[in-house]
Amino acid sequence: MTDKPSGLVQGTLDMLILKTLDLEPMHGYGIALRIEQISKGVFQVNPGSLFPAFRRLERAGFLKTEWRDTENNRRAKYYVLTERGRKELKSETREWGRQITAIARILETP
């Protein structure tokens, strides 16, 4: 059991969580599942990193929480992206894009 999500560059977990929540508010398991599904199983996120990340993001004011019922009528804590979180996601995505392009350019240089 590794502490970090497999193959995940440190710091990117926060961005992935924000991205996932950009679509709709979701509970913890849902977020983990979504990340795993979209990445086609490449990223497996365990609760040991997920929940501290929630706490961090909530502290930073990027997330709000509310208790809601799931589709199976179970109470769960849902995370909602705030306006600040949306801005943060945008800037992080932009930054990520720049880095990716830069890295790709370096790698492609013969």
Binding site: P47, A76, K77
Partner: protein, 901 residues
């Protein structure tokens, strides 16, 4: 905004901890449920799904721990937890806690006490304006370094310098020079002559009335006014304002009290607070019959100056040196040889910062105090080693606890933090106890210091600096030396620690190795301290055992000054004769005599002499010590008569002036010739004085016990003008019991004369050895403390080693080993440690004690007796320390030991 949120949210979690916890629990439970539901959809049964979800999640507690760590509040929180937990742990092992706190208290207490002493005597700045600008002048000549000069020299420095904004002269007035009376009663006080600009120079403001002004200190017209110290004002006048304007009679001259110095200003000479301040130019009142103000020969004035703003110490020194060189040039005589002139001119001055006052006390005590500081420093090291050993063995026994905690999700840093928190608590408790101990030890120190010559008064109450010092020392001791054990003991893998039984696991042996090194270090440091203590104790013993040339037992001393009562000329002599007669008639008095100076009083009089038939080179040291004594002086002090006769009634003011010399003087000036009948003398105030030698007596120490008896001449006091004298009374019983009787018998004949300063010769000699006793007693105490600590350290390690090896010993015994074999092993091991400690410690000790060679007497710094004694003491104590663990080892029952497996 974000930071504020951070703090707010952190505080919320701290304050509403339970709610936050509950929410997290609920969230995690929901997570598990939802995960299980998802798995059930894939076809697993509910139980299987739940189990799979749990496996995926891992330890719930570990997750929670990680979440908690995401915010800053967790540090505060865990610190609180650590405190509570640590307190519980410490309470659970009261023995360990008590011993550790005690050890810390001893080590820290000793250090704080000595620091307070250094602080009070050497570091604390005077409570005056800009103390950093204050300087004093020191004089380096062939006679050594001194801070005294003549008044004309002072005037030259004052009037001709360009570097100082002010210069003040200071001189001590003590009884009998200062004979003070208030309302007809004699007052036992001390005072200082100071220049009129003394208080303005310091920038000190009065607590009442006003202070001296330069106008009151005009040459030849010193005003008869005095300023009281605050302490004396409170003591004698209860702080009443009515004291102002009253008169105190000093040497039959009334002085008016004009003001009181502020309470915080105690003295410019740390350790010696004067009761009153007198204008310098009233000096003639005290130096009767003749003033010293115009005498360049008498060096008695201390100089305190203040640097002009912007002038540095070296600049001022250069400026004053030029003046001093000119003064020296003026002092040379044309008939001197070139060599003598050069030697005379090579005298130098040095300016020293005086921010903490005149350095008398610093100079006198700096050596002993720094030696003591070194010793307590070593004690602190031993304490550290000891604490480290204890923490180490304790940490090992707790290894399983740590393993369990790590398995439950605790990080290693967290464990180390936990241990350090415990150390912190130990350190603070030890520091607090140490402070308590230090205040007690300080009063003892103050007593020891004040017992020496001159009755030093040191303010040893711990101040802010002492508190800071204690805090820093306690934290350093426990945190620094607790870090290594904490780090090591949390290092091992979880699985290994859980699997093994405490007692036979590998890493413990590694810990033992550190423990061994620590014990060797303790023994080595202990050897250094013991060796030092041994040398100082033997020095004190030697000094007390030497024959000073007189018998100090059963001699009462007391002083009389009939001149303050108005008696003159032969009246004084008559009074002395009557008193001596009366004393001789007392049944328990064997003999009685008079003298101007008593042995080992710490002061005296010396002069350059010419001797018949001896030609001295111009700069040859022909100084001899002088004493005026009555007939019977040598009998009373039991100094042997070697040649000639004693003084007798036949020597009168009108007959030939006679003197008796001691052996040292006879040997120096006459060699093997008979000195009887030869003449010697000197010039005093332009008047030639001449004496004929009528006797030779044995050598006796004059100023202190360390000196070689100096060349001394004794003159008949009844052939000279008589002033204040001291009586020596040899009694046949213990002297203390006769004091009141003597008082009583003198009552009828003493008239206006007062008897004062009752003491015994033995007490006077003891007092002169105050330093030596201070060092010997304290170093002895410190040596004992070191021994105790080393013993605890050795005992702790051996007890631990035996406990660790219970199984091993059991197996050995089961296989046929005898108790003796086991004993030999245990004792052999500890002996090796002690031997290693001695082998390391002894060279260090020999190296270290070289620094104190000059403080020893009658033995070298490599004194073999001390070496052997110290080693034997260490060996015996080490043996004792190992006894209990060894006994426990023999008592190991193989069956019980093996059943532990």
């Amino acid at each position: 905004m974000s930071l504020r949120q951070h703090i707010a949210s952190g505080l919320r979690s701290l304050l509403r901890k339970e709610q936050v916890e509950r929410e997290l629990d609920e969230e995690l439970r929901a997570y598990l449920e939802i995960a299980a539901e998802a798995k059930m959809k894939k076809g697993l049964s509910r139980d299987e799904a739940l189990r799979a979800a749990r496996v995926e999640m891992g330890s719930v507690d570990a997750v929670k721990e990680k979440v908690r760590h995401a915010g800053w509040e967790s540090i505060v929180e865990s610190f609180g937890q650590d405190l509570r937990y640590g307190l519980r742990r410490l309470r659970k092992s009261p023995g360990f806690t008590a011993v550790a706190v005690l050890i810390l208290a001893l080590g820290i207490g000793a250090n704080t006490a000595i620091f307070s002493l250094i602080n009070a005597m050497m570091l604390r700045a005077l409570p005056v304006e800009q103390p950093k600008q204050l300087v004093q002048i020191l004089f380096h000549g062939w006679g050594g370094t001194g801070s005294h000069t003549s008044y004309p020299d002072f005037e030259d420095f004052r009037d001709r310098n360009h570097a100082l904004s002010g210069v003040s002269a200071v001189f001590w007035l003590n009884p009998p020079l200062l004979d003070a009376r208030l309302e007809g009663q004699s007052e036992p006080i001390s005072g200082q002559l100071v220049s009129g600009n003394f208080f303005p120079l310091l920038g000190v403001h009065p607590a009442a009335g006003r202070l001296l002004t330069p106008e009151e200190d005009r040459a030849g017209a010193g005003a008869r006014v005095i300023v009281l110290s605050h302490a004396y004002w409170m003591r004698r006048f209860g702080g009443e304002a009515s004291a102002l304007g009253r008169s105190i009679i000093l040497r039959q001259t009334p002085f008016t009290i004009i003001g009181v110095a502020p309470p915080e200003f105690k003295s410019v000479t740390p350790g010696y607070p004067p009761d009153l301040y007198v204008p310098f130019t009233t000096e003639a009142v005290f130096h009767q019959p003749r003033t010293w103000l115009d005498q360049r020969r008498y060096h008695w004035v201390q100089i305190l100056g203040r640097l002009k703003p912007g002038v540095s110490l070296p600049q001022a020194q250069a400026d004053l040196s030029v003046i001093y060189q000119q003064m020296l040039e003026g002092g040379t005589k044309p008939d001197w040889s070139n060599k003598d002139r050069e030697e005379f001119l090579s005298q130098r001055i040095r300016l020293e910062p005086a921010a903490n006052g005149f350095s008398d006390l610093r100079r006198r005590f700096s050596r002993p105090v720094f030696v003591l500081a070194g010793m307590v420093g070593l004690i602190l090291l031993i304490t550290c080693a000891n604490i480290a050993t204890m923490l180490l063995s304790r940490a090992i026994t707790r290894q399983r606890e740590f393993a369990v905690r790590r398995a439950l999700g605790s990080g290693r840093a967290r464990l180390v933090r936990q241990l350090l928190t415990e150390n912190l608590m130990l350190g603070l408790a030890g520091g607090a106890a140490g402070l308590f101990l230090a205040s007690w030890l300080s009063s003892f120190l103050a007593l020891m210091v004040s017992l020496g010559q001159g009755h030093v008064q040191v303010d040893l109450r711990p101040d802010g600096w002492a508190l800071v010092f204690t805090l820093v020392v306690s934290l350093l001791t426990t945190m620094l030396f607790g870090l290594a054990p904490a780090w090591r003991s949390t290092r091992m893998g979880v699985a290994a620690a859980l699997k093994s039984t405490p007692g036979i696991l590998g890493p413990a042996l590694g810990h033992l190795r550190i423990g061994k090194v620590l014990v060797i270090a303790q023994v080595a440091l202990c050897i250094v301290l013991l060796f030092g203590a041994g040398l100082f104790l033997r020095t004190l013993y030697n000094l007390e055992a030497i024959n000073p040339g007189f018998n100090r037992q059963n001699v009462i001393l007391f002083s009389v000054d009939p001149t303050t009562g108005g008696l003159k000329g032969h009246q004084v002599a008559d009074l002395y004769h009557r008193m001596l007669e009366r004393l001789h008639s007392m049944p328990l008095v064997r003999s009685a005599s008079l003298s101007a100076v008593t042995p080992i009083w710490g002061g005296g009089m010396n002069t350059e002499v010419w001797v018949e038939g001896y030609t001295a080179r111009p700069t040859e040291d022909v100084v001899v010590h002088v004493n005026w004594v009555s007939p019977g002086y040598f009998t009373t002090l039991q100094t042997p008569h070697l040649l000639g006769r004693d003084f007798g009634p036949e020597d009168t003011g009108r007959s030939l002036k006679v003197g008796i010399i001691n052996q040292a003087m006879a040997r120096y000036f006459f060699g093997h010739q008979n000195p009887i009948g030869k003449k010697f003398g000197w010039t005093e105030d332009g008047e030639k004085r001449e004496f004929e030698i009528v006797g030779v007596v044995g050598d006796a120490k004059y100023m202190d016990m360390r000196e070689e008896p100096p060349r001394t001449v004794y003159l008949n006091c009844f052939q000279d003008e008589l002033g204040a004298m001291t009586f020596e009374v040899r009694t046949t019983i213990r002297p203390a019991s006769l004091v009141s009787e003597i008082h009583h018998s003198m009552e009828a004949i003493r008239g206006t004369a007062q008897l004062s300063n009752f003491t015994t010769l033995e007490a006077q000699v003891d007092e002169s050895l105050g330093h030596e006793r201070l060092i010997a007693v304290l170093s002895g105490m410190f040596g004992g403390l070191a021994l105790l600590l080393a013993m605890i350290g050795l005992y702790g390690l051996m007890a631990y080693a035996v406990a660790q090896r219970t199984n091993e010993i059991g197996i050995r015994m089961a296989l046929g080993a005898q108790g003796v074999d086991v004993l030999r092993r245990v004792m052999g091991e500890s002996s090796l440690l002690v031997l290693a400690g001695i082998a390391v410690g002894l060279p260090c000790a020999l190296l270290g004690t070289r620094l104190v060679t000059s403080m020893l007497y009658g033995l070298g710094s490599t004194d073999p007796i001390t070496i052997v004694g110290v080693i034997m003491l260490m060996a015996v104590v080490a043996l004792l320390a190992c006894c209990i663990p060894a006994r426990r080892a023999i008592k190991v029952d193989p069956l019980v030991a093996l059943r532990y497996e």
